[in-house]
């Protein structure tokens, strides 16, 4: 490979950013405004290209800056601080929150797994129904705790928000954003990050060069800003190199799967309506429903890593959630516009990596900024980007280098003194109770929120794979061992996942497709996700130790895969089809097989890859 290495090009800039999401948006908006300030311009000059303004580039994996993200409800505290006179109408699909509800969903079909505590909650909620509304199968809670409220906030399509921010940045002409350009890894020189290496192009699926081979360029920079999200390869490689701070770990995850829907014309919901659901299809699965202007809604579910089903699936549960009578009365007759999924890093502050080091800084969700109590991440991510930009401007004004100590003082200190940190500390143990079960988690969150973090149901966090039982254990009392085995063999012969057959055997009704909203998983992928995988890139999901996968009985990677891109393979090793992958990353944290040398990591490698969703409405 020496000849190939010699062909690798290199480029010098001042600041290179990895990933374009809300955090990087906040960073670049703040920095580009400073670059337009005549008083600051003398300080914001390029050292990489003398005589030019600061050279700032951002590389994003997705094919467009608005692809592959999610709808949110946010208090928008940090976003409004950046845009003082923000009118939601400026951003497509945005709207002020007008109504907010939290709804307990009962199980209308009797298939949901409801241990005694949850049945007790069902009964307690039934008594509350006297006070509220919801119909026979749901209870609209009469009270929303302050820590959960977002009734002064904004509904956003993050795809559209990113496009809007991107157009503001591009019109400034001061920063460059390049979608469709995955970053493979950080360049680390003697524990100093000196830039990034872009992903090789013109390879086969194994990464071997073809005739069209073009080695990924090295982009060298005095500062590397890492905002590549919860499963970004650069952030994770930094964690592998530098380790995590003591007692910090990333063990809590969720995958959010959602649809954007044209609601039926007679749908009574007004723009700005928000409701959150708990209780169904399984108690561990939360739902959300946001109504945008134009009779369009963003809706979906979160499936967390502490939902210990060995056939954890998002798509099938999303359909059952949509069909719940409380939700379906608004959706029946609607049409799918868009579909997608993404991983959420739910460890919050406890998952915070080293925020800075020589030559680099971490911002956004991958930096542990998500508030896991309030369920808010976008605004916090944005704010960490703003804080880093303010710190960077301060260092540039003082002509100080981007060392760990300087970045600690200029960025981390700002973050520690901000509302982001205060909220994160309150939330730090809020979800610990879920390690003990849904009811403990539900009560624990309430205690943490109401006591502002002083009272928690705390405890050690298990690694995601640790609580996953065998199929026999999970379906004990519902399915016989021989029936499970029969289904397993049939699925293996058909090359399909197990969850549909097992769920139906356990009482979940088959989904009757309507061709508009209730459609097959593959149709959702193609009609809603519009997934693309450009040629010339290697597979980004790799099964590192085939013998381990062969022996793995669970193969949760197949069940959780949001795009059915991972399927049973010959010889027992799953096979990966990158043309169906939406880069949600759920396989990465759902793998149940730890590495022998590092129990925090598993044998499924999720690396840098190209393509993914092509919908900008998510």
């Amino acid at each position: 490979m020496s000849e190939v290495a010699a062909d690798r090009q290199s480029m010098e800039v001042d600041i290179v950013c990895v990933g374009f999401g809300p955090a990087t948006g906040g960073f670049l908006i703040t920095l580009s405004r400073a670059m337009q300030d005549p008083a600051l311009q003398p300080h914001l000059q390029s050292k990489a290209m003398p005589g030019m303004p600061l050279q700032v580039v951002c590389y994003e994996r997705a094919d467009d800056i608005g692809f592959g993200v999610s709808g949110v409800v946010t208090r928008a505290r940090g976003i409004r601080a950046s845009f003082h006179d923000l009118e939601p109408g400026e951003i497509p699909m945005a709207h002020d929150v007008s109504h907010e509800k939290v709804v307990w969903l009962k199980d209308p079909i009797g298939a949901s797994r409801r241990p005694g505590g949850v049945k007790g909650l069902d009964a307690a909620m039934a008594s509350l129904r006297l006070l509220g509304k919801g119909g026979p199968h749901a209870v609209e809670l009469p009270y929303i705790p302050d820590f959960m409220k977002k009734d002064d906030g904004l509904l956003l399509s993050i795809g559209q928000f990113n496009q809007w921010v991107g157009s503001l940045l591009m019109s400034s002409g001061l920063v460059q954003i390049w979608p469709g350009m995955p970053v493979a890894e950080p360049l680390v020189d003697d524990d100093r990050v000196v830039g990034v290496r872009l992903l090789d192009q013109g390879t086969d699926l194994r990464g071997d060069p073809t005739e069209a081979y073009m080695p990924g360029m090295d982009v060298r920079a005095a500062l590397t800003v890492v905002g590549d999200g919860p499963v970004g390869p650069v952030g994770r490689k930094l964690d592998e190199h530098f380790g995590m701070p003591e007692d910090h770990h990333q063990r809590d995850w969720a995958v959010g799967m959602k649809m954007v829907v044209d609601l039926p014309t007679d749908c009574p919901l007004e723009p700005g309506t928000v409701f959150h659901t708990i209780g169904y299809p399984e108690p561990e699965i939360f739902g959300f429903f946001y109504v945008y202007p134009g009779n369009v809604a963003s809706l979906g579910i979160f499936v967390p890593s502490w939902f210990d089903s060995p056939v954890r699936t998002s798509y099938r549960y999303l359909q059952h959630w949509m069909l719940h009578p409380y939700v379906w009365r608004y959706l029946e007759g609607g049409t799918l516009r868009s579909w997608g999924a993404k991983t959420l890093q739910e460890s919050g502050r406890r998952g915070e990596p080293h925020l800075v080091g020589d030559g680099y800084a971490r911002i956004g969700e991958g930096s542990g900024s998500t508030n896991v109590l309030t369920g808010s991440g976008v605004d916090e991510a944005w704010t960490t980007g703003v804080q880093l930009a303010e710190g960077v401007i301060e260092l540039l004004k003082q002509d100080k280098p981007f060392t760990r100590a300087n970045l600690e003082a200029a960025y981390v200190q700002r973050r520690r003194e901000s509302w982001v940190e205060r909220g994160a500390r309150i939330a730090e143990k809020a979800r610990d109770g879920f390690q003990k079960g849904f009811l403990a988690g539900f009560i624990g969150m309430g205690l943490s929120g109401l006591s502002r973090g002083r009272i928690n149901i705390s405890g050690p966090a298990k690694r995601p794979y640790e609580p996953v039982p065998s199929l026999q254990q999970y379906y004990d009392g519902k399915l016989q061992v021989d029936e499970i085995e029969r289904i397993r063999q049939a699925a293996a012969a058909a090359g399909t996942s197990l969850h549909d057959a097992l769920m139906e055997a356990a009482g979940w009704p088959a989904i009757s497709y309507d061709g508009k909203l209730l459609i097959s998983h593959q149709d959702a992928l193609l009609l809603g996700g519009k997934v693309q995988a450009p040629a010339g890139y290697p597979d980004h999901v790799v099964f590192l130790y085939p013998s381990v996968c062969e022996a793995c009985e669970t193969k949760l990677c197949i069940e959780i895969c949001s795009g059915e891109a991972i399927t049973p393979g010959e010889g027992g090793v799953p096979q990966f089809d990158r043309e169906k992958c939406i880069h949600c990353g759920a396989c990465f944290w759902s793998c149940t097989q730890p590495r022998e040398d590092d129990p925090e990591r598993t044998v499924l490698e999720f690396g840098a890859g190209a393509g993914g969703l092509h919908s900008a409405e998510n």
């Binding site: 094919d63 692809f67 002409g173 460059q176 350009m181 192009q201 519009k530 919908s615």
Partner: protein, 269 residues
């Protein structure tokens, strides 16, 4: 050739073909639902023209490529993020509609005017490139009219291959019906070449090309002149996008003959 080509590629954005398109009536005439929210790509016909132009310029010394784009300025900005890393070019931006319902005659007038104003363009060396069906709702008339306005009489309107011969003449293969090509030779530029698909794959992203392009693209966008292009005088009786029907079925190890038989059956149904 003692001097290279000056290649002006006419090309602009279209909605990402993967999006769901829904015609709607707007005060300005027909449009697409949520058009400003739709992700955009370079019109695939024009994209082939641009890649062919860059390839030709690279292999012919002293050549230069301009991309002449008519579209809403904000959307052209986004388009540039997607294509500026592909090949070197200089942008000539016109701020106007690119919604697919403009009058091809007016579009051609705006593009021709922009080409005429390109600083440093040597008209005797001009090759006017574009997509064969671009900006014309597949009628294939726009580039022809641009060429006429520029006084270029050598026009090739379904090009798949261009060869510069040793004597400087241009050998052009044009796609005609029946899967055959029409071969033509002209003395050299100026000429109009409206491309079908060409022969080149989409180039990989090259960050250095992007950095180099973007230094000139941003000033070009900021200086984009408004283009008075409309569909005034045109009445659309009906607007619809091609119907799509999908049936998904996942199968393994099915013989090609069986797949072909099923497809024929499906089409007949």
């Amino acid at each position: 050739m003692s001097a290279g080509f000056h290649i002006a590629v006419c090309g602009s954005l279209v909605p990402d073909p993967l999006q769901t398109l829904e015609p709607v009536d707007t005060p300005a005439g027909p449009g697409l639902k949520s058009e400003m929210m739709l992700p955009a790509v370079l019109d695939p016909w024009a994209a082939h023209a641009l890649y062919e132009a860059a390839h030709l310029a690279k292999n012919t010394g002293d050549s230069k490529v301009w991309l002449v784009s008519l579209g809403p300025k904000a959307r052209l900005q986004q388009l540039m993020m997607n294509i500026a890393q592909k090949v070197p070019f200089e942008l000539v931006a016109l701020d106007g509609p690119a919604g697919g319902f403009s009058d091809a005659y007016e579009v051609a007038a705006a593009l021709a005017g922009a080409v005429e104003k390109i600083d440093g363009l040597d008209r005797p060396r001009l090759l006017l490139f574009g997509g064969r069906s671009s900006a014309s709702r597949d009628a294939g008339v726009t580039l022809q009219m641009v060429g006429e306005r520029l006084g270029i009489t050598d026009q090739f309107l379904a090009v798949d291959k261009l060869t510069v011969q040793d004597d400087g003449s241009l050998r052009v293969l044009e796609r005609v019906e029946g899967g055959v090509y029409q071969a033509s030779v002209c003395e050299g530029p100026p000429a109009v070449l409206a491309w079908s698909t060409g022969e080149l794959p989409e180039p990989p992203n090259n960050p250095q090309v992007g950095m180099q392009n973007m230094r000139a693209i941003m000033p070009a966008l900021q200086q984009a002149q408004p283009a008075a292009v409309s569909a005034a005088g045109i009445t659309y009786r009906n607007v619809e996008v091609p119907r799509q029907r999908r049936d998904t079925k996942i199968v393994k190890d099915v013989p090609a003959e069986e797949i072909a038989r099923e497809i024929v059956e499906w089409l007949r149904s």
